[in-house]
Homo-oligomer: 458 residues x 2
């Protein structure tokens, strides 16, 4: 029997004898009784175990420490406490001991402390909530795309295509760092490396994703990506997971429809499947979280252009830290203003081409590209997408202007020659979504083992 | 309208006018008619488009090449051919041209040729089948574990824990290869690297997975893993995807129950959702594939020990290439014999400790470990698992004997101190599963962009 099953059956199981295996989260001892707050990890809720001094092992049981794993045999009885039932134990067996200096004592720990104990923090209420929501949200994403006929594609992690800029990518090697042989040009002899050339771990699966969209129509990726950015902020990590759908015969309007539909599906799925976890986050992480999420479900997602957004920002009676500009990206403060102005999520489209990627479709004005960012209340940018440039010559010119080595990605370029079509896609950072869903404000707390500059423990 | 929807509605849509967007797979031209074999990638089946010379663009249409993307407007009519319907086109619009020397002409291509054109091969029937099965199988795995209360954990890809043997792992760096600074000891100064120390991309998520199993009870991973093995065989790749479940309070018998249940779930799911694809593979890839898979569903999975397996092999009247031995691993030829002997899948348990990993539970005989390999007819080893050593001292001794640096994984060791419990897990190579499900005999054809020694194109 698991605690999850207990809560599913609840009243129906009163009076039954059951066996549970799990951990002591908190142990309160009295002379005649003991109370164990028990969790087996199968659901967010704990269950109270009561044992009496008539048990022959009473003294042994009282010595059991917080954190220990135990087997409990007992009867489900009605409770006068917060829960509708508790377990009256007839036997409590120690399976795995835990020392008294166990770091995860039942008290409030700082997030920083918990990060240092990353391998133990999943045992706390906060991370039981966050990481279960993470798992459920991941499944919601798979279910959404599979139900809608998308093919899940595992794009490669190791790549020699450095079109996102190799200075932002980790190099990989099988050579011995301390004894690198150089060739005649004084460069490292990569012919002896496993792949025989410079290789990296990827920063995006998009380019490879497009090759599959032009065969399967609708595809998505869901995998890890890597950036070498040396920045210590609350929203940057060097390893994170991305979802990158790509859809053939789909324009910018179409991709906005999909993004809105997908986000609502995920949020609804998490609200339906993680009631206790959302309640906890609502109470202890972000006040108003539940309301924010429920409101999103009924929201109309506004669609405005970058120009219209700048117009609104310029008219606003606000003293900006960064002056809004028609040529530039918008800042955090602008994102916040825009979502509050429209009181809901906002798609901002048609961005100045100079601040966007080379593969985005150039609009007829020759100044903007068919890109779209989704801004949501509370979190700002959640998704970035675009229609892709499908004109070979325009793409080639844009690539050259931006210094992209198109020879390395001739296969990507060729998609425009071999039955190309208009197509669009987007990328959603999974950790950013988890932060939005849980209210967690630091990316380090949204992923099991965060990697940031100088931090690669565990 | 998509081709998938067309086949779902079939007879009900006869007489209706529809619009399709997709690609010309084959174009046969006659004086008064043209026939286009059309695919939009939404399902395995193609649809036949017929156009007549009364169309005003008849001549233009006849010039359209294989591979081009087109928009078709037409009426669904009954067909006298193999399919129950075809499209009588009233308009065919060229969306994206394709040159006459397009490599993917409608003829038989060798697998080797298709590997060289990895970005185009998803457009062939074979890879439409293989990669759709891959996507569906991936979802089946997620659904199986989520339905059964497992938490999906994203274990880290970048790691400093090299317990699997760092010589088998790729090193990563942000330093400039050609200008590495050395420290006083003559070694590369890693303090300037992004993480400040030697870091790798992982070969397994198991150790991190265990930390979550001891908090959430049942977890699984599903992500990419990397090995630097310099071997060019049909079953080795340097990048592949793994599924690694880990279950608390679960012994070796329990983990076999789960493996059997999971495999049957996946096979049934794929048979139910990929009928056309399995039929195709059955006809063109592996004769008897469907029968093999259906037979598995009703199979009893035999459970024998390694010793019993060797007994059987020794008694067999077979001239072995490798002599069976109680102290050694079993060879491909042995796996084949054993699965044929039992006429179905076989779990082989309790392996000699010297040929298995350090974290596997030592049995009371002090000679074997509680490991289990699942052998399936036709493919040999599909899954490897074990009960994990949960005794701190025994684990420490095993680690030292095998030269594992336990200081680097003190957190993993500590799981045995902080409320440890008996637990088990297994690892399934996803590509191996795909090869089993499709009959594909080379791992390079089971993954979109294979990485093998000397091969890292795209």
């Amino acid at each position: 029997m698991t605690v999850k099953e207990l809560y599913e059956k609840e009243k129906k199981i009163i009076g039954k004898k059951i066996t549970l295996k799990g951990w002591i989260r908190n142990h309160r001892k009295q002379k005649e009784f003991g109370f164990i707050e028990f969790s087996d990890g199968t659901c967010f809720k704990h269950v109270q175990i009561v044992y009496e001094n008539k048990l022959k092992d009473f003294e042994e049981i009282q010595k059991m420490h917080n954190g220990s794993s135990i087997e409990v045999v007992g009867k489900v009885v009605e409770s006068s406490g917060k829960q509708s039932f508790e377990i009256n134990a007839s036997k409590i067996l120690l399976l795995g001991d835990c020392p008294e200096d166990y770091p995860m004592q039942p008290k409030k720990h700082s997030r920083e402390f918990l990060r240092e104990k990353a391998y133990l923090r999943p045992r706390t209420n906060l991370f039981q909530a966050v990481f279960r929501i993470r798992s459920v949200a991941a499944f919601a994403i798979h279910e959404y795309f599979q139900k809608n006929g998308y093919i899940y594609v595992h794009t490669p992690l190791i790549t020699t295509a450095d079109c996102e800029g190799s200075d932002q990518m980790f190099k990989i090697t099988t050579l011995d760092f301390d004894h690198l042989e150089k060739n005649e040009e004084g460069k490292v002899d990569l012919s002896k490396d496993l792949f025989g050339k410079k290789s990296y771990i990827t920063g995006s699966g998009q380019l490879h994703g497009e090759t599959f969209a032009l065969a399967f129509n609708k595809i998505y990726t869901f995998g890890p990506t890597f950036r070498t950015e040396n920045s210590n902020t609350k929203t940057h990590a060097n390893e994170f997971w991305m979802i990158e759908p790509e859809i053939a015969f789909c324009d910018l309007e179409g991709v906005m429809d999909i993004e809105e539909d997908m986000i609502k599906y995920i949020v609804k799925y998490v609200l339906d499947h993680c009631k206790d976890e959302i309640d906890f986050c609502n109470q202890f992480v972000e006040e108003g979280l539940r309301e924010k999420l429920e409101k999103l479900l009924s929201s109309h997602f506004t669609r405005i252009t970058h120009k219209e957004a700048i117009d609104i920002l310029k008219k606003a009676k606000v003293k900006w830290e960064f002056e809004p500009s028609y040529e530039e990206d918008i800042a955090k403060e602008h994102e916040k203003y825009i979502t509050e102005y429209f009181n809901g999520p906002v798609f901002i489209t048609n961005w100045p081409k100079d601040i966007k990627a080379w593969y985005m479709k150039l609009n007829d004005d020759n100044k903007t590209v068919a890109a779209v960012d989704l801004e949501v209340p509370g979190s700002g940018e959640l998704i970035g997408g675009s229609q892709r440039e499908d004109d070979y010559d325009v793409l080639l010119k844009r690539a050259k202007d931006l210094g992209v080595n198109t020879e390395e990605v001739d296969w990507y370029m060729n998609l425009r020659k071999f039955g190309g079509c208009y197509h669009s896609g987007f990328g959603m950072g999974f950790e950013r979504l988890i932060m939005y869903l849980t209210g967690i404000d630091n990316i380090r707390d949204s992923i099991p083992y965060p990697r940031t500059p100088g931090n690669c423990d565990y």
